[in-house]
Amino acid sequence: MKHFFPLLRNELRLLVFSPSTYIAAVLFLGFMGFLYLFILQQFALEPRESLPSIDFMRVFWLPVLFMVPLLTMKSFAEEKRVGTLESLMTTPINALELTFAKFFASYVFYMVIWLSCFLLAVAAYITLPSNSVNAKLLDFASWIGGYSFVALSGLLYIAIGILTSSLSKSQLISGMLCFCLLFTLIIGERIIMEIPWGDGIITSTLEKLQAFDQLEDFCHGIVDSRPLVLYATSALFTLGITASIVDSRI
């Protein structure tokens, strides 16, 4: 993996100069800003049991569906279209190093954009008058729990984005494919749960895979090792497939 860091630096540089990164960031932050404002308004209107940060994190899936494709669709698809992937693969680097570099670059941006959402809470804390609700805005435990889940699930979501980018030369097709896969994974699971499967192994397995339930657990301080293993291994598996696709389809 000795080529990993030069490749990672190059990928980060490419993301910094890519317009789709900024489109993703602006769309995400704009949307999350409005959402946070809406949540605060709801809190102002009536008393609620949960914290604003937990309510805010519960809609994680909505920005993920748009931000992940925008961040990752360019990674392999554009290099394939332009032909730079071919000249990159004539150097002593291997496909796994390249895949990991692209993955980590997108993951870093994904987390930076998510972490910047915390500024919304800080801004609200500073601007709103001090009272009992205001104190709950910066409830660090729930924020850390929520962000832990976002960081963990992001491993798989970004890996899926990188995989779909390696399947096509078109950024648009890669982006759409990524959106469909993420939608199936996050929302589809919930829809499948609506089917009466009985009390067997299927139901218990599907319950374990529910991203929404895992988020609730993390936000309430319950850190289970199963989602940790699930997301880490599935991300590694997805990246392994991506590397073999890149190797065989230059």
Partner: protein, 342 residues
């Protein structure tokens, strides 16, 4: 002297489904040679180069770079090779020096030498001074090709492979690239494909002509000329009304030559003389034509065959062989089908 050939290709075959892009290609290139790879579009030049560069596996056959198998140890052979793909894809949003620094890093140039090495290749390719800070997307085609060539030289490769390095360049840029290749002569083994035949003739010590996935000719330009155009040709330009007289005179007095009339417009035409005698003296033509004073000869010249003639002759021959085979196979099929139906 190092006896290991720089490149050795042995019965290399690549199939795309049922189509054979290359079929049993074999050749050997010694260290320090400059080799031109010629062939019409779709002949299999790029496929062969891509297999050598280690980015595409062959269906069968073996390829060695500096004695190391490309299929078994691509990581090793990639360290020996500097490869410039066709159309030279480059990232448009990087500066030249940034790009070359990045490439030097991933090509494992030791950190302390990267700056010196990048400067060296930029100077060699005339990319230093103000050009080095320019963004690649704003460069002309010629400069982009130079960046591509500079990149191939970064790791001091033992073998440089360039796929159509002069494609789309204007004559000035072609000359600059040729000068660059000549600068590298002897320092490294160079394999490049080109459609510009004088270019290959000027730079290469060996030429490989590939057509329909097979090598149809291989050797130095001189050897190929002797093999594919084993005759001497003269051209006599005269007035149209004198052409028949010239032909009669020459065929009567020099019976060993073959003649062909080639009228050019309304006023004049040319008589082409062809002989297998390489030492045939042009004076004999003068002597024969001097006999009839009414004949006005405008020009007598010896036709020197170019690589273009060799290329046309070699590829035409292979086309003809393939077509003959195809016709023969079709006729046999037809006969077999007729027999079956009766």
């Amino acid at each position: 002297m190092n006896s290991v050939p720089a490149v050795k290709v042995d019965h290399l075959t690549k199939h795309y489904g049922a189509v054979a892009a290359i079929d049993g290609v074999s050749f050997t290139i010694q260290a320090g040679e400059v080799v031109g790879f010629l062939g019409p579009n779709g002949a299999g030049k790029s496929t062969t180069m891509r297999i050598l560069a280690g980015i595409m596996p062959a269906t069968s056959g073996r390829a060695f770079v500096c004695g190391t198998s490309v299929a078994r140890s691509p990581d090793v052979t990639k360290r020996y090779i500097g490869y410039m793909p066709e159309n030279n894809p480059l990232p448009d949003d990087m500066r030249i020096c940034e790009y070359l620094h990045f490439r030097a890093k991933i090509k494992e140039v030791p950190s302390k030498y990267i700056k010196t090495k990048v400067q060296e290749v930029m100077e060699l390719c005339d990319l230093h001074h103000r050009t080095q800070k320019r963004i690649i997307g704003t460069l002309s085609k010629g400069y982009r090709q130079r960046v591509g060539i500079a990149d191939t030289l970064l790791n001091d490769p033992k073998v440089v492979i360039m796929d159509e390095p002069t494609i789309g360049l204007d004559p000035h840029q072609v000359i600059a690239i040729r000068r660059l290749i000549n600068n590298l002569k002897g320092r490294t083994t160079i394999i490049f494909s080109s459609h510009i035949l004088p270019e290959v003739e000027a730079s290469c010590s060996q030429v490989i002509i590939i057509n329909q996935g097979r090598i149809v000719a291989q050797g130095s330009p001189q050897v190929l000329q002797e093999k594919f155009l084993p005759f001497t040709r003269f051209r006599v330009v005269t007035h149209l009304q004198d052409m028949e007289k010239v032909k009669d005179l020459l065929s009567k007095n020099i019976p060993e030559i073959q003649l062909c009339l080639n009228p050019q417009g309304e006023a004049w035409g040319e008589v082409i003389l062809e002989t297998e005698d390489k030492q045939f003296p042009a004076e004999r033509i003068f002597e024969v034509l001097r006999v009839d004073e009414s004949i006005k000869v405008l020009e007598i010249s010896k036709h020197i065959p170019t690589l273009e003639n060799v290329f046309l002759s070699a590829t035409k021959k292979s086309w003809k062989e393939k077509t003959d085979l195809f016709i023969r196979a079709n006729t046999l099929n037809l006969q077999r089908n007729t027999k079956k139906s009766t």
